[in-house]
């Protein structure tokens, strides 16, 4: 199977999945989207295995690394500033700003933690140390 055929199949699967999720949400059924998403992922994975064409190589990975790093930096800074602002604004009030800010702050901390764990792992892996 060519990558072009796979792309067409992927679009169809995503449209069907989005339609089913939309229908489920409209009818107030929160459980249907979970199996739908899992089924869509499995179907796409099976079709993806059938693609013999090379679609990902070292250049794509290199681009993905750069994009990930810049996304991490932008999101980290933007979310940290937003979290601090929300916490400051909701400090003395009974609004949800404080809670949202705190949740965002924890999310940023979690992201930074995952980054450093991954960094330590790869630093050790490629450092030559045993």
């Amino acid at each position: 199977m060519s990558f072009k055929t796979f792309t067409i199949i992927r679009i169809f699967v995503i449209i069907i999945m989005a339609g089913l999720i939309g229908w489920a949400v409209t009818n107030g059924n929160a459980l249907i989207p979970i199996p739908v998403v899992i089924a869509a992922m499995v179907i796409l994975l099976l079709f993806r295995r059938g693609v013999k064409e090379i679609v990902v190589d070292e250049r794509i990975y290199s681009i993905a690394e750069k994009a990930s790093l810049i996304a991490f930096r932008i999101f980290g800074i933007a979310a940290a500033v937003t979290a601090a602002t929300l916490i400051a604004l909701g400090w003395d009030s009974s609004s949800d700003l404080y809670k949202i800010g705190l949740t965002l702050a924890y999310a940023v901390c979690g992201l930074i933690l995952i980054y450093y764990i991954a960094y330590i792992y790869y630093n050790r892996k490629y450092s030559g140390k045993k």
């Binding site: 190589d57 070292e58 250049r59």
Partner: protein, 70 residues
């Protein structure tokens, strides 16, 4: 380091090898055609592994394909 560049003769070598297409070379070395295009335009510097694969695809040494200039 700042003024260093890596040039290559991939385009020349492709034509010397029976006008090998970019797609053909990409399949031989296991990368995408877009990567070959980027290499020929000097927009991407390959890994050592890919550089060796390209050199082997043409049956030449690494230095015959890639030149490091300061």
């Amino acid at each position: 380091m700042a003024n260093a560049s890596i040039n290559n003769r991939i385009r020349r070598l492709r034509f010397d090898h029976g006008e090998m297409t970019q797609e053909e070379l990409a399949q031989r070395v296991g990368c995408t055609r877009q990567t070959i295009i980027a290499l020929e335009q000097g927009k991407y510097v390959p890994s050592i592994e890919l550089a060796f694969k390209i050199a082997r695809a043409f049956g030449v040494t690494l230095e015959d394909v890639f030149q490091y200039e300061e």
